[in-house]
Amino acid sequence: MAADFALRKLMPPDLITFDLQATEKVAAIKELAQKIKDAKQINDLDTYLKAVFKREEEYTTGIGNGVAIPHGKTAAVLKSSLAFGRSNKGITYNSMDNKPVYLMFLIAVPENSSNEHLQILSQIARKLMHEENRQAILRAQSPEELYQVFEN
């Protein structure tokens, strides 16, 4: 199950938080991005954030049902990463359904990412489309429980 381990490498426990502090889109993205930076997987935080917000300008990554998946693809990213943050208060995000975001997956991809990583991200994106998976993520108490949602 190489893919399973790959998810754990892509989204190690230090990139997972179940208590996001920010309640507003830009701040929330910055909060999660800082975690990726702290894990030394981005070399220039500003460049990365610029890519994320530029992407955000095209259309919102708040995909509705309380989920957002901001993402940035730039050379400033050293290693494909996925950070997860759950907000208990809700984040104002101008989502497609105008509802607050509770689950945020911040994706960082270098210019020449391996297909394996992209494949995992695409699987996660697909899984997020299903209500039962979103419910399970909302209930998750530990990184382990979060991994299991995607590994099933």
């Binding site: 992407r55 995909i63 994706i107 991809v109 991200l121 695409s122 697909r126």
Partner: protein, 471 residues
């Protein structure tokens, strides 16, 4: 319902796949069969095959990038942003049902230099909602290039070797011509069946077409055979249920064999004889038309050629002309085909006359440019050369063109002009033996062209009285 879809987003990381997932989930819920090709940063995954595209009732493209649509020519195509598939996928399945049929090179209908003779009909291929007429037009649109190539080869053979195509080269070209012409009925019947039942329809359809050809049942036989084959296969697909371990045999053994046996035997023993008789009857009746009746036929065919500029009505007339050719022996000419072709040359020529000679200031610069190429297109019997004009001012243009074309068609009949080939325009006038009464034929063409040319100039003048035209 079967749908094929493509999803793609600008970064190709998330939305591509979310959209695909949501389309698949919604399709399952709605009982729709779907295959979604994702074009993300991983590259293309789950790529659609041409067979899947051919079998699909519609195409959904949910993308914020430019997706190449060439593969979907002739399909109902709904083109939306990727977010729509993420947000409300179910609605898209409703909307694709009424989506317009995608035409490759959409702009070419407004482009006088695009000289494809039969664009509209081909674009209907695979469109399930098109009904009997649509299936017929699909078959016809596949058939016409064979007739054109075959007919022109035949005429070329006469040009090289005289009226009896003497000489090795002329004989060879003549043989090519008759081979291409001979494929006409199998292709017509085969692709009519293909339009109804997709690929499995081809075998019984083509066999029925060959049979029709050998039984002398002509156009009617081929058409009936094509429809019989198509609906037979459709019924078989619906009613024959095999255990899944044998289902692989359906497309390669069971459907081709049984449908061919059934269609072939029905053709041979039941409908063949009456259809052959009917075909002969119609041919005899057409050949017996003289005087007023034949002029009337020419008027009607001429009007049909112009009224929708190589649209379905024009094609019906054209087809009638082509069908009349198929019962000729070498060296004979068809007055019906002659009337059809010459009247189809009128609209582009008349508009060329009006826009480059009679009323230059009534046309925009673009139209005058289109007018120059319309001369060539008209001489080549490509009625679509008139489309750029009709697109901007349809009522006046089509009305004026229809009058002149009808007169030309009537005159051609009256003069007893005939032609041996189904296409080629002015250039076949020069081939000895291809056109009978060629001088009168030119007169018929000139008269109609001048009438339509003056008429449209006059109508445009009335319209622009006191107004400036945008250059």
């Amino acid at each position: 319902m079967k749908i094929v879809a493509i999803t793609s987003c600008s970064t190709g990381i998330a939305h591509t796949y979310m959209a695909a997932e949501n389309l698949e989930t919604a399709a399952k819920k709605l009982g729709v069969e779907i295959k979604v090709e994702t074009q993300g940063s991983i590259g293309v995954e789950n790529a659609l095959t041409s067979a899947e595209i051919a079998a699909a009732d519609g195409v959904i493209i949910a993308a914020s990038t430019t997706v190449n649509k060439d593969r979907f020519s002739g399909k109902k195509l709904l083109d939306v942003d990727v977010t729509e598939a993420v947000d409300h996928p179910e609605e898209l399945f409703e909307r694709v049902k009424t989506a317009p049929v995608y035409q490759e090179n959409k702009d070419s209908s407004n482009d006088a230099s695009a000289n494809s003779t039969e664009p509209q009909a081909t674009n209907n291929v695979g469109n399930k909602a098109k009904g009997i007429y649509g299936h017929l037009m699909t078959g016809v649109s596949y058939m016409i290039p064979f007739v054109v190539a075959g007919g022109i080869c035949t005429a070329l053979a006469f040009a090289v070797g005289g009226i009896n195509a003497h000489g090795v080269l002329a004989q060879a070209i003549s043989k090519l011509g008759s081979t291409a012409m001979g494929l006409m009925w199998p292709v017509l019947a085969g692709y009519t069946a293909f339009s109804i039942a997709d690929r499995p329809g081809l075998v019984p359809g083509m066999v029925a077409g060959m049979l029709s050809s050998s039984m002398n049942a002509g156009f009617l036989g081929a058409l009936l055979g094509g429809f019989l084959a198509g609906y037979t296969v459709l019924a078989m697909k619906k009613w024959i249920k095999l255990p899944s371990s044998f289902s692989g045999l359906m497309p390669i053994l069971i459907i081709p064999l049984i449908s061919t046996l059934f269609v072939g035997l029905v053709m041979k023993f039941i409908i063949g004889t009456p259809i052959t008789a009917l075909n002969k009857g119609i041919t005899a009746w057409l050949n017996s038309l003289t005087g007023v009746n034949s002029v009337l036929l020419g008027l009607i065919l001429g009007a049909m050629m112009a009224i929708d500029l190589a649209g379905p009505i024009g094609k019906a007339a054209y087809f009638f002309g082509v069908a009349s050719l198929t019962n000729l022996s070498a060296g004979q000419t068809s007055p019906i085909m002659a009337a059809v072709m010459v009247s189809g040359m009128v609209p582009p020529l008349a508009l060329a006359l009006s826009s480059t000679v009679l009323g230059k200031n009534l046309y925009s610069k673009d139209e005058r440019e289109a007018g120059k190429s319309a001369w060539v297109l008209g001489l080549s019997f490509i009625s679509e050369g008139a489309i750029p004009f009709a697109a901007t001012d349809p009522i006046r243009v089509l009305a004026a063109m229809t009058v002149g074309s009808a007169i030309t068609g009537g005159l051609s009949m009256w003069f007893k002009c005939g032609i041996a080939v189904p296409h080629g325009g002015f250039f076949v006038f020069l081939i000895p033996g291809a056109v009978s009464h060629v001088l009168l034929y030119v007169i018929a063409l000139v008269v109609g062209t001048v009438i339509s040319g003056f008429l449209i100039t006059f109508l445009k003048k009335m319209r622009y009285k006191g107004k400036e035209v945008n250059a």
